[in-house]
Each structure stands twice: as structure tokens, then as C-alpha cells.
Amino acid sequence: MGLLTDEVRSLIGTRRVYTAPEPMGAAGGRYFSLAVGDDNPLYTDATFARDHGLPGVTLPPTLICETNQYAGLPADAEGYAGHTWGLSVPDTRQVRGGNRYTFGRRVRPDDVVTATWEITDATEKTNRAGADMLIVSSTATYTNQDGDFLAENTETIIFIALGAA
């Protein structure tokens, strides 16, 4: 053990806030639905959507948790243009643990998203192979220009010590 340093522990509670420079847009939702192969008419057919009580087309639910549209960040050396904490833990490899999404309502084309990211936890464990792991949890809360709660995304990043048993 020893991956959970005071420096890492001090990061709990750190926040970053991003507000998108423009609305999500219907085209963005249609593009995403084509990319993942989801032909749900709620994303493309306003009459169908209204027949089911919605104000018009909505975006695929998980898009808000997957897109970097709101971040407005330049791509890094590997092409990534989204939020990161820039955490670097020496002598470890980084893997994704998982995600938990909570949705308040369907995202609409005119929603302008604000994403508030926060480091919520950092813990240390040993995996079944005997390797030390640092587990960092973050939560992104997505709201719109009127303060409506849209969604929450809790994700876990795991740093696994190299060269362990």
C-alpha cells in the first residue's frame, strides 16, 4: 500500500465546472444515434415524440454522460478533448472501473449543459492478484441554463501498481 498519499487525499472535493458554448442541438443527438445504431424515433421524429408526451425530439439518454461537447477544451497530445483530473500516479497503469448514470429527464436540443465535476472519494485496496490499487471516484452533475437537473455520472478510475504480485 502507499498509493493513497496525502496529496491524493487532498484532492477529494476538488471541482471543475464547464458550461457548453452552445445548446446540445438535435443534429448532435441524431449523429450519436446513428453512430451507435439506435433507431429510436424519439430522437428523430418530433410527431412521434409529442405523441408520447414529450415536447419534441430528445437526445439519446447517455449522450450527455459521454460527450465532451460542453468542455470546450483543446485536444491533448493523444487527441482527447474532455475533462480529466490530470492525475499521474507513478508506477501504475490506469483502467476504468465503471459508471453509474442517474437521469432526471430527457435532454432536449435547446438545453445548454453545465457540467460540474467533483472528486468524491479516493480509496486503496489490494486486488485478487495481490496488486495495490488506488480507486478514485468522481461525479459529474449536469444541469441546464435554467438550473434543471438533467443527469449525474459517477465514474471510477483505478490505478493498479505495476510489478506487484
Binding site: L34, V36, T62, Y80, A81, T102, F103, R106
Partner: protein, 148 residues
């Protein structure tokens, strides 16, 4: 897409969703999500990392699981929560099968346990992409109720 004629029952399987994800799909997904990390499309980059091919973005499994649930329950349903744990990487050209089973039912919601399995070239199960996964889906309404 249609609404089921009878309410879900505990133990009932969810109609599975199977999808082959090509490099073209992955490039489209990278564009649609504003995520241009080379890991997801650049053969030279992944070769340098000693990976067998471009890596499917793990978050796409969330999209596929939601698609499976909505295709099953129809437009008058709303996925309120979903969680999923990653197990193995999936590479360009591979096929994944999402599946699930009802674990709880109430008057206005259904809870489902799910997984996503990567198939081998012979079509047999090879390894899990996602497991466990679960979701709570509101019934009888196309939209959510605000912050749960």
C-alpha cells in the same frame, strides 16, 4: 418499437441486443462524442501500446444497454438509473451481446440485472465486456421525474 402488452415479471429475460462494432462505427462514435483519443481509431497508436486493435470506448456499452431496455419497454418508459462495471476491452470488428433479466417489479418501475458479452470469431461467448450492470426503468412515462 412498441409498448409491451403485459407488464414485466421477475425472472423474465430482456430481449438481447447484439451488435458488431466496426472501426467505421468507432470513428463515428468518436466524432459524435467529441472524443478523438487515438486509442479508439489509430492502428499505429494501438500497435505501439501492444494492443490487438483500436479499443471500443467503454461508455458505448451504456448506450447499448439503454437501447436494449428502451427497445424492449417502448417509448413510454424512462431509464432512471443505470450502472455498469468494465471487465475486458473490446476491439474493432468484434461483436457484443447485451442481455438482462428482470430482478424486481413495482407498480411504476422495473429493475433489471444485465451484462455485455464479447463473442469470439466462432460466435461463442468469449469474455465479458461489462458485468455486473443494472438499471431501474420507470414505466408508463416517456420522461423522468427530475432528480430522484
Amino acid at each position: 418499437m412498441s409498448t409491451p402488452t403485459s407488464p414485466p415479471a421477475v425472472g423474465q429475460p430482456v430481449p438481447p441486443l447484439e451488435r458488431t462494432i466496426t472501426l467505421t462505427d468507432m470513428v463515428a462514435y468518436a466524432g459524435a462524442t467529441w472524443d478523438w483519443h487515438q486509442l479508439h481509431y489509430d492502428p499505429a497508436y494501438v500497435a505501439e501500446k501492444r494492443l490487438p486493435g483500436p479499443v471500443v470506448d467503454g461508455q458505448v456499452f451504456g448506450a447499448l444497454l439503454v437501447e436494449m431496455l428502451q427497445d424492449w419497454l417502448g417509448p413510454d418508459s424512462f431509464v432512471q438509473t443505470i450502472d455498469f462495471t468494465f471487465r475486458n476491452l473490446m476491439f474493432a470488428g468484434e461483436t457484443v451481446r447485451c442481455e438482462g433479466q428482470v430482478v424486481a417489479v413495482s407498480e411504476d418501475a422495473v429493475e433489471v440485472a444485465m451484462s455485455a458479452t464479447i463473442l469470439g470469431s466462432d460466435g461463442a461467448d468469449d469474455r465479458f465486456a461489462v458485468r455486473p450492470a443494472s438499471a431501474r426503468v420507470l414505466l408508463g412515462r416517456a420522461d423522468g421525474t427530475g432528480r430522484p
